[in-house]
C-alpha cells in the first residue's frame, strides 16, 4: 500500500516532537548524574539503555508484521487514543494554569542533590551513576518506543518515518547536551506536548476507524482534518477551563 505525504509527514513530526520531549527529560537527569558523579558511567548507563530499546523496537517491529493489520490498528489505535488524549488533557490543563509546568532546572537540581547523598562517585566504575542513567533512559525511552511503534505499526511502511523522527530527536538532544552541558529549560515542552497530544489523538482515531473497517473519506487526508478538529477543541478548552476554575475561586 502506498503511503501518502499526509501520513509520512505527520508520522515524522509527531514522532520527532514526542521523542524530543522525552529525550529532554532524560537528558536533565543524565546531566545531573554526570556532573555530580562523573561522565563515564553515566554515559555508559544511558547508551546501554538506548541499545536495549533499539533491540526492543527491532523485535516488536518484526513481531507486528505477523499480526493482521486490522487487529493491530484496533489495538494500537485504542492504546494511542488512551495515550494521546491523556497527553492532550494534561497539556490543556497545564496551559490553563491548573497543573504546574514541568521545570527542567528544578528537576536538575533535585536529581543532582540526590546524587550527592551517595558520596564521591568519581571512580573508574560507578554503579550508582550507571543505574540512575540506565533507569531514566529506559523509563523515558519506553515512552518513545511506544510512540514509534504506535505511529508506525498502523500501516505498512510507516515504521521507518516514525523511527526517523525519534532518532532525529535523540541526535538533536544529544548534540545540545554536549554543546550546552545544562538542562534544556527553554524548550517549550508544554507546547510540544499540546501539539503531540493533538497529533496522537488524531492518529489514534484514524487507526481505530480503520480497525473497525471504516473507509475514511479522502483516505489519509482525514488525519489532517482530525488534527485540525482536535486542535480547535483543545484551543477552545484552555480559556474555558481557566474561566471555570476562576468561577470556583470566586464562588467557593
Amino acid at each position: 500500500m502506498i503511503i501518502g505525504w499526509a501520513h509520512t509527514g505527520t508520522s515524522v513530526v509527531a514522532s520527532f516532537l514526542a521523542s524530543l520531549v522525552e529525550c529532554v527529560e532524560a537528558l536533565t537527569v543524565v546531566l545531573a548524574v554526570g556532573s555530580v558523579r562523573g561522565w563515564r558511567s553515566a554515559l555508559i548507563g544511558s547508551a546501554t539503555a538506548i541499545g536495549v530499546l533499539l533491540v526492543i523496537v527491532a523485535a516488536l517491529g518484526t513481531v507486528l508484521t505477523h499480526i493482521p493489520l486490522r487487529s493491530i490498528q484496533l489495538v494500537i489505535g485504542t492504546l494511542l487514543l488512551l495515550f494521546g488524549l491523556r497527553w492532550l488533557r494534561k497539556a490543556i490543563l497545564r496551559s490553563a494554569g491548573l497543573i504546574p509546568l514541568h521545570d527542567e532546572q528544578a528537576a536538575f537540581a533535585k536529581n543532582a542533590e540526590s546524587m550527592r547523598h551517595f558520596g564521591n562517585g568519581h571512580t573508574a566504575w560507578d554503579k550508582i551513576a550507571f543505574a540512575a542513567t540506565f533507569h531514566i533512559t529506559m523509563l523515558e525511552g519506553t515512552e518513545v518506543v511506544f510512540i514509534v511503534i504506535a505511529i508506525g505499526a498502523g500501516r505498512t511502511g510507516t515504521l521507518f518515518p516514525a523511527s526517523l523522527g525519534a532518532v532525529g530527536a535523540l541526535l538533536v538532544v544529544i548534540a545540545l547536551g554536549f554543546i550546552l552541558h545544562r538542562p534544556l529549560a527553554r524548550v517549550p515542552e508544554n507546547t510540544f506536548k499540546f501539539i503531540v497530544g493533538v497529533m496522537l489523538s488524531a492518529f489514534g482515531t484514524f487507526w481505530v476507524g480503520e480497525g473497525m473497517h471504516l473507509a475514511w473519506p479522502a483516505a489519509d487526508w482525514s488525519i489532517l482534518a482530525l488534527i485540525a478538529a482536535y486542535l480547535a477543541i483543545a484551543l477552545v478548552m484552555v480559556p474555558l477551563c481557566r474561566s471555570r476554575s476562576q468561577a470556583v475561586t470566586s464562588n467557593p
Partner: protein, 71 residues
C-alpha cells in the same frame, strides 16, 4: 528488580492517568465497534460520530477537573 517494577508502573501510567477518563474512552470505542457492525451509516457519519464522542469525553474530563481545581 525495582526498576522493572517501575517500568511496568510507568507503562500503565502511559495510558491511565484519570481512571474515569480512560474508562469512558474504552466504553465509547466498544460502543462504536458494536455500532459499526449493527447500524447502517455512511463512513463519513461514523467518522464524525467516533470523533465527536472522543471530543466530548475530553471536554467533560477537562471541565470537571477545572471545576474542582481553584487556580
Amino acid at each position: 528488580m525495582k526498576w522493572i517494577k517501575n517500568i511496568f508502573r510507568e507503562i500503565f501510567g502511559l495510558f491511565v492517568d484519570d481512571g474515569a477518563f480512560a474508562l469512558a474512552i474504552l466504553i465509547w470505542l466498544s460502543f462504536m465497534r458494536w455500532a459499526t457492525s449493527h447500524l447502517t451509516l455512511s463512513p463519513a457519519a461514523i467518522g464524525v460520530i467516533l470523533f465527536a464522542g472522543l471530543a466530548l469525553i475530553l471536554i467533560e474530563s477537562t471541565t470537571r477537573f477545572a471545576r474542582r481545581t481553584p487556580r
